[in-house]
């Protein structure tokens, strides 16, 4: 279906939200109209273009995304529109950012672990600029997103990106942030056992904490906390006593995940201590082992 004109492109996109060529037609159309506004040399031509062309276009993308929440080219189109606006020298207001966040949230509600939507959400936080208060607000908001999305790896990865962004602006907060993050992820694992997503987030927090402060690799208390946590989560007897149905489904996963974290963090620690280590796996149905060279 060739999309030669902007109306045909709109129709094609309603049938296939990831029709990349149709989005290109829409861009040519928006770009063309932009030139008219700007060439008119009236003051505020760029702002008018944003209000009269870009805003409706963003609304149209949202309309398409209600059916195609994952389509990468739709998200790329949103980014092009916003980036083009900024290149025209138009400042994006808070309402625009909020609109984008809402678009992400709507898409994530429709399609879990929506890679493109979570990436877009992180991009928005990035372009909001170096306002550590705004990023701190985003960091706080990501906590409830994480709680709601304990099986959504995109949600926890998004949180890690906001943490990184926050620490770019406030690097001295690193120790506090990662201490808190490790407590937070332990709390989530206790509440929601058997979720690989949470255990992966534990790896992230542990590895980043050690990367930023190598002394932690020899800090007995720090290491013991993780070891004890793995021990606790491996002890399925107690957890099964509390909830036998859980034991039937999540217990084996939890045991395996706790073991994996134990070995994985050992790898990180040994490397941080400057030791040469390698990973092996005896058979694909067994765990990994870390051996010194």
């Amino acid at each position: 279906m060739r999309a030669d004109d902007e109306a045909t492109a709109k129709a094609a996109l309603c049938a296939n939200g990831d029709h990349a060529s149709a989005w290109s037609v829409r861009r040519r159309y928006c770009e063309g109209r932009g030139r008219l506004y700007v060439d008119a040399r009236a003051r505020g031509g760029e702002e008018k273009w944003f209000e009269e062309v870009v805003r409706p276009e963003l609304a149209f993308v949202r309309f398409v995304q209600s059916r195609f929440p994952k389509a990468p080219s739709a998200w790329a189109h949103r980014r092009w529109l916003l980036a083009r606006t900024m290149r025209f020298g138009v400042e994006l207001g808070e309402d625009v950012y909020n609109c984008e966040i809402q678009a992400c949230d709507a898409a994530i509600a429709r399609k879990k672990s929506n890679y493109a939507a979570w990436s877009h959400r992180a991009w928005i936080i990035q372009i909001m600029g170096a306002d550590s208060c705004a990023v701190q607000t985003a960091l706080r908001a990501s906590e409830s997103l994480a709680r709601r999305g304990v099986s959504d790896h995109g949600a926890l990865h998004y949180r890690s990106r906001i943490i990184e962004r926050y620490l770019e602006l406030r690097p001295s907060d690193a120790s506090k942030v990662f201490t808190r993050e490790l407590e937070f992820v332990r709390e989530l694992i206790d509440a929601f056992p058997g979720h690989e997503t949470l255990w992966m987030h534990y790896r992230y927090a542990f590895a980043e904490a050690v990367k930023r402060n190598k002394l932690l690799a020899s800090d007995a208390d720090f290491l013991a906390t993780t070891k004890r946590f793995c021990e606790k989560r491996r002890d399925i007897t107690e957890a099964s006593r509390v909830d036998p149905s859980w034991a039937e489904h999540a217990a084996a996963s939890e045991y395996r995940l706790a073991n994996a974290l134990d070995v994985w963090t050992t790898l990180v620690v040994k490397r941080a201590q400057g030791r040469r280590v390698h990973v092996s796996r005896e058979s694909p149905n067994e765990g990994f082992t870390v051996d010194s060279d």
Partner: protein, 335 residues
Amino acid sequence: MSAAKEFELPSMPTLCVDEHCAFVARASESADTLEHALTEHLRLSGIYWGVCAVYTLGRLDRTFDRAKKEEILSYVDSCRNENGSYGGGVGHDGHVLYTLSAVQIYALFDELSRIDVEAVVGFLSSMQLSNGSFQGDHWGEIDTRFTYCALSALRLLGRLDAVDVDKACAYINSCKNFDGGFGAEPGGESHAGQVFTCVGALAIGGRLDYVDGDLLGWWLAERQVKVGGLNGRPEKLPDVCYSWWVLSSLSVLGKTHWIDRAALARFILKCQDEKSGGISDRPDDEPDVYHTFFGIAGLALMGHPAVVEPIDPVFALPKSVLRRMGIELSGTGKG
């Protein structure tokens, strides 16, 4: 190869070679469906998936006679744009994704002489940005997939000299995460598809030293779920296409033995439509050419006896095609 013995197990379903070739042949004829029209923008990739699937099954000439072959090649020719790029379909804008697909199709049919190499090289090199990354087209979207497409196409054409390979690889390295995986952009979540493209790009660029083999191998091996299939990220459902993205990366790292290959093979074979042919993303879903190709390619990497043409894990092309082009094959590591 020890993997081949696993296919002799009595419980292993048969690979329905005839049916899959018939499925691909039918897919190339169905120009009157809505689905066909709505996917026109990626037709070239569809052609690559179909042709390569059939090639690896050793049935290229049986499935596409000379007339059909010329029809396909003429179609690819007509997707060429003035700036040297290829669009996904006739009249569609050029993009690095479809430029690679075009080069791959010409390579499969041994018709590289149909390419205006300088024009293609000109387009691809113009897509590299100052930080080493590649945009997909002039609209500016950047994704590590596009680096792979550009480097692969340039290598196939013998023109890697046209871009800054060091910078391209350094940019890929900047997309590496704490877990050894790679995302679509710096800070992007590790995703098996992106891992394939990043590892592939680094292999082509000669910078596999950027890869943390132990960490990444671990992450890749953890993509295997209980039913034997592979997923692309934690807690996602298994999908046949990851049989390729994950397995090819493990192959480059020399760590395919870190997953249960028999279980994976069984999963792929269960995703076949044994009556009408084709392979789907998971059992009992609708098959499509994309999953048909990647399922067969995954089986090729595991040495399935019916997949007669071994496939290269970096270029996703049969090794015999690469040898014919004089391209030195990627090693599969120490394992």
